[in-house]
Symmetry: C2
Subunit: 193 residues, 2 copies
């Protein structure tokens, strides 16, 4: 059964309105009613189509997630399969950070509407598992399972936003920090307990 024409039109209007609102407004000034109003649609239309606000946000990022996933799964190295393990790790971190920087508002909305939905998300599970694999390949001796979660947490959109706007760190400093977190490039003397 194909989607009815008015339904498709409304779905598009809702997605567009939601995206615009999330970009423009502060996160907690965006509400179901405001999205509905901006899309010229009733609240119930949004609810039925997307289940809840979390579903709406999911629908917004889903295509971008799949795009990045396919680059990771079958793109060209070092982000895609093949190549040096260390290079693969760093390429992956760059891709994740860029993804967060480009989609900060949506990711923050995702974190906002589902407290642990962030980690529990199928997408996040993919990112974390992949991260753990690449950490393990590059640094076989560390606890890749824990480190993957820690690094992924450091990539949360609210954390990045906080570092940028409240701590005035520029993105390249953050990028360097994330890389160093996953794979410390320098260790001086006297660093072990």
């Amino acid at each position: 059964m194909t989607e009815r024409a008015d339904a498709a039109r409304n779905r598009a209007a809702v997605l567009a309105a939601a995206e615009a609102l999330f970009q423009r407004e502060d996160l907690d000034h965006v509400s179901l009613a405001r999205i509905a109003q901006a899309a010229g649609v009733g609240k119930a239309t949004i609810m039925r189509r997307f289940g809840d606000l979390l579903g709406l946000v999911d629908a917004l990022i889903a295509p971008r997630v799949t795009a990045l996933q396919s680059r990771v799964r079958s793109g060209k190295p070092p982000l895609g399969p093949g190549g040096d393990a260390v290079a693969r790790l760093h390429a992956y971190l760059d891709a994740l950070l860029d993804f967060v920087l480009e989609n900060r508002t949506l990711i923050r909305a995702l974190e906002h509407y589902g407290p642990h939905a962030y980690y529990a998300n199928p997408a996040s599970r993919f990112w974390i598992d992949e991260l753990a694999d690449r950490i393990h390949a590059a640094r076989p001796t560390v606890d890749a399972g824990y480190l993957a979660h820690a690094v992924f947490t450091a990539l949360r959109a609210d954390v990045i936003d906080y570092l940028r706007w409240h701590q005035h760190m520029d993105t390249e400093r953050i990028r360097a920090g994330v890389h160093a977190l996953a794979n410390p490039p320098d260790l001086g003397p006297n660093l072990h307990r």
Copy 2:
């Protein structure tokens, strides 16, 4: 002017009821009305005394924060002043992690009621600055400012809870991971890009 006797009694009742509720109930089932009811007090009483729910949670953790702060500022080494820089860093991490484990519910409430209040908190600023100092002393070559924030983020109560309950990591694994994050003990070959 001294606090009126009934006011003091109510303050204590509210604090006790709030603490009990935060411990027992899931965070988003705790509401102003329920705390008030449990304390046998009107909502307005809570509001006027603590400003808002964030203030209430603040009042609950404040004494524990000051207790730990004084141990850090003037306790015995290595947590207090003096001693080896690396030992000081690790002692501090242990103290922070223990603090989070002991006060998880309150810290989660704090994070919940003020999205960035968590970091913006004067207390958090103290923890982070101190962490940056100790990281810098132990590892002068790293970006201690960034790393302090990253490690502190890894110590967020919601993150710890997630790792424990959803990822089934025991606390000692998390502890080891946090230490390694702040000061990686081992680096094999081929780890630099």
